[in-house]
Symmetry: C2
Subunit: 188 residues, 2 copies
């Protein structure tokens, strides 16, 4: 990444989301994304493997944040509470990102390929969470079940936050979803 291309990665991601929102994902080419960002196609492919990946730039960092928060929860914390700490940590990333998240979600929901990629990212996040829980001494299947429950809360909480523009934070939406899941599995 040379000096002559400052923030190429971010510029490409911003340009891609703009174009996908304006014209649709299928109708947009990598050449157009690169042009809008003032860069070349070659630079695009130095940063992203394909047209989809540019929308998932943040997921690696998100996963690290989630996993580190789970690992860093007090040793006495129950597995579900360690996951709750992870959800809180993840939510901080989305403060002031409501508009961006809404746009991105609309693009993903409109395209089956993108939904597939999202499912894969969530499955990978779930596996990483289960791994983090096992390293805390949680056994199987408790680790995998808690991780899957955490992903369910993340997914539903996120969807609700995106749908309810400007009403509360993602952290609140996820905490509410977790409380509801607890009530529901209590048989309530």
């Amino acid at each position: 990444m040379g000096r002559w291309e400052p923030n190429a990665r971010e510029r490409l991601a911003t340009a891609a989301l703009e174009l996908y929102s304006e014209r649709g994902y299928e109708q947009t080419t990598v050449a157009e994304i690169a042009k809008r960002a003032g860069l070349t196609e070659r630079t695009y492919f130095r940063h992203y493997a394909d047209k989809r990946e540019v929308l998932f730039d943040g997921t690696g960092g998100l996963q690290d944040l989630f996993v580190n928060a789970v690992a860093g929860a007090p040793a006495s914390a129950a597995p579900i509470d360690a996951v709750a700490a992870g959800l809180d940590a993840v939510a901080t990333v989305f403060v002031d990102r409501g508009e961006h998240s809404r746009k991105r979600q609309a693009v993903i929901v409109a395209n089956a390929e993108l939904q597939e990629r999202e499912l894969i990212k969530l499955a990978s996040l779930s596996a990483a969470l289960a791994d983090a829980l096992r390293r805390r001494g949680v056994r199987e299947p408790a680790a995998s079940l808690t991780a899957e429950a955490g992903i369910a809360v993340f997914k539903i909480g996120f969807e609700r936050w995106v749908a309810a523009t400007g009403e509360g934070t993602l952290a609140e939406a996820m905490r509410e979803s977790l409380e509801q899941l607890k009530a529901l599995t209590a048989g309530g």
Copy 2:
């Protein structure tokens, strides 16, 4: 499907699973599957859209079974108990299918494309379950959260049943997973 091709669908599915297990998914062609089943490639594509779909033949029926059991649960049943009834119904399909399920799971785990397709099928099952719960009068986000919890139990219960050959039924594995999820979300 003419009389001259009795059970073509099942024969193709059996041949595909055999070949995928013996040679690997990537190393097997549709022509080879058709040949092993004593049928033509053309017949294959009349039944299955691609090389992946043949492994997911039963998922539509499974989804109907799951959804119908949720719909048919007593009106007084809590959402999670309606889902538990669905899990019980689904488990009946797998009685005496342990060997087949193990083979199929091994093929899927070994290939990223197949894992993707599996994730999509599970997401579709989750959406259908949430829909069935809403038709029972369950509101959002409770319907989606309960559906996701049900899928988590199905997934983990299934994996454990497949891993623990010959020890108990799928119904037992899923009931155990559900009990564990309840204990875990109770903060235990």
